[in-house]
Amino acid sequence: MSDSALVVEQNYEQLKNLALQKHGEIKEKPYVLVGTATCGRAAGALGVLDTFRNEIDNRQLDVNIIEVGCMGHCYAEPMVIIYKPGFPPLCYGSVDEGKAARLVTDFLIEDDPCFEFAMAALEPNDLFPTFGDYPRGVYEQKVILADCGLIDPENIDDYLACGGYGALAKALAMKPEEVIAEIKDAQLRGRGGAGFPTGIKWETCHDTPGPLKYVICNADEGDPGAFMDRALLESNPHQVLEGLVISACAVGASQGYLYVRAEYPLAITRLHTALEQARAKGLLGESILGSSFSFDIEIFKGSGAFVCGEETALIASIEGHAGIPTHRPPFPAVSGLRGKPTLIDNVKTLSYIPHIVQKGADWFKSIGTPNSPGTAVFALAGKVVGTGLVEVPMGTTLRTLIYDVGDGIKDGKTFKAVQIGGPSGGCLPESALDISIDFDSLREAGAMMGSGGIVVLNEDDCMVEVARFFLEFVQNESCGKCTFCRLGTKQMLDILTDITKGHGRPGDIELLLDLAEDIKTGSLCGLGKTAPNPVLTTINFFRHEYEAHINEGRCPALMCKDLITFHISAEKCSKLCDACVGSCPVEAVYTRPDMLKAIHLDKCVKCDNCLTTCRTLYDAVIKKSPPAAEEGVS
């Protein structure tokens, strides 16, 4: 081993031992982890955190409270984990102030672990099942999410104690070519959406001569239904940083950027903290870990433009311009930021890097499928029970993902479709549920891996409206530079809007298909090229819904507002209840002389309030499509 490699190893071991020592001290007494990522906060985690603090302070208990990120079980937020010597670490879901107070009095003071609110234990034990005993745990295989929600994102020692930055120390002792060879051999494909082989991109950037090179972490997660990157940045920022430093070391870059959406303020705060701590430990800056490699990272806040997820637009944005894509080639790996070779990788892609460097390409390839090795991280949302972040091996079927990992469809409804890949992806029906999730199978099915957003749709979701929604999104986010995206998607959007309003015309479906094909081939950048996918897949699999709108003025899912009317079923309505009347914001619901309720259609704004209110009472409010006349007093 060379002298410099020895120095790196010694420096790293020193950091790690110090971290382990601190970690050991924490473990000696009970401690509480509260998930305070954005999703946890939305569900009330900060109130829970305060309760724990106050209760523990008031009782002068010797208990540490640590804020952590997200474990991925968003359906059960806010989540709390309690470590108490003598008990297995236990995870509690849907914790509110009341439960928090009970956990302090009953568990931390007494020895009753309140199994009635516990979700699972984190380690096998004789008392309580672990996550691995549930279907979600059986099918999940966590690599980059493994530490999320368990380690303190604001304390670098937690990451170091789990072996963090070990891959960096290892990479610094390797030749850049060896690191790149490992990534290439692992066949890691970019998790930002397109699935381009990461190793080849690294090699191109490495092989392009130049004294100055840049690496950029693309954390401009803009897919409206995806939050994996946010969760990773909020829960385990050092994993991404380590990946970025390794990539810089491999391609020979001296400056790095984290391009983060401004909509993610907590992620930005936690990244700032992480950067400062990494600098203080000599993991960033001049001669990292005592090696000859110097590198630093700057955070660049995006300003709200989905198109900036596109590499060339992202670069334009850092350079101080509007985020408008340019023609490729030249690819950024050859000529990117300030005309210099620039490597751009997504948050998830970079998060895999430390694991691959540590455990090797063969380990990575043992997970997933031959053409798409590794795991896939999805943000599971919509009409599914187990919403949240999941990580499964590539090759898992959509059915397993939705029914086993996600625990099926909410409220006993019927599955209709799964939207995968956001605005660039597509909607797949029941018949496609057995295809395996990997880059190539999804593309063949007309969808796309995209960035990993999965929205489950049920019988109440109109597929024309879904397609319209995505086109509206693309229209709002189009940079406006190229004809096909600026005007083509506008034409498509206008057609779809007309269809959802009942103004569809014969031939509209064919025109949509024609335009879609030309936009796919003719657009300048990936945003435009993939924009028609949601329309193409919905026409392909749900053409009958389009036809019902156009030919019959009927929305089969009873969703399109212009094609439905609200009514109250006289058979079901109770004369004694007037909950619906009170729920109406516009006084459209009234009591008839016979005490049954009815709706003035001319006043009704179709807000759904009465229907939601009545559903649990008499379920008397119904929707009709095509619109029906008001039922008069009989």
Binding site: A305, A322, T326, H327, Q475, N476, E477, S478, C479, G480, K481, C482, T483, F484, R486, L487, G488, K490, Q491, D494, I495, L511, D514, L515, D518, T521, G522, S523, L524
Partner: protein, 218 residues
């Protein structure tokens, strides 16, 4: 200076500088390829109008001629069913957002859109698409010319000469998506902006968006 290469465009053998973009190689040799946003002086092609598609042997899909460098032995076709289809759609999309009133346009007879229509036998009339033009007032404030945003095709030539040739910095692209347009700081009329009324931008406008007033009087 630079090396020459031999390429074939529409069965004609041409000797052109290596790396020259196909669009200029073709135009210099009398072969017309429709284009709006491409112009030689700009160092990086905008590739925004999507009209200059050609087929290049070995490429799976049509490519834009303004971005494709000439390489020895390259075989190029300016027409093919696929190219024609893309050009037709791009053209229809552009005119769906361009105020088509040729009879009352100062550029009638000297308009790039008319030239494209003629060359590719396309109609200057909307058949399958919707009219998207929003009525916007014409900026008549400069002495010698006027700006009609509803006729602008967003080629960006005027912005380029304003910034790089006239070096004024009065006009630029603002907003995005369907709202993207060429305008001034704060969207005021030209005379309230930094515009010096040098007229350079008017000279490069390929359509009737920026027109000299005497031309209109003719």
């Amino acid at each position: 200076m630079s090396r020459k290469v031999t390429i074939t465009i529409d069965d004609r053998q041409l000797t052109v500088p290596e790396g020259e973009k196909l669009l200029w190689a073709a135009l210099d040799n009398g072969l017309y390829i429709p284009h709006l946003c491409g112009f030689r002086e700009s160092e990086r092609p905008a590739a925004g109008c999507r009209l200059c598609f050609v087929e290049v042997e070995g490429h799976p899909n049509p490519v834009t001629a303004c971005t494709e460098p000439a390489v020895e032995g390259m075989v190029v076709m300016t027409r093919s069913p696929r190219v024609d289809r893309l050009v037709r759609t791009a053209f229809e999309l552009i005119i769906s957002n361009h105020r088509l009133d040729c009879a009352n346009c100062a550029k009638n007879g000297d308009c790039e859109l008319q030239r494209i229509a003629k060359a590719r036998k396309l109609k200057l009339k909307l058949t399958r698409l919707r009219q998207l033009v929003k009525e916007t007032p014409v900026d008549d404030s400069p002495q010698s010319f006027s700006y009609d945003a509803s006729r602008c095709v967003l080629c960006g030539r005027c912005v380029w000469v304003d910034h790089n040739k006239a070096k004024v910095g009065a006009i630029g692209f603002i907003r995005r998506g369907i709202s993207r347009k060429v305008s001034t700081f704060g969207e005021v009329c030209l005379t309230d902006s930094r515009c010096t009324q040098c007229g350079e931008c008017v000279k490069v406008c390929p359509v009737g968006a920026l027109t000299f007033k005497e031309a209109a009087d003719k």
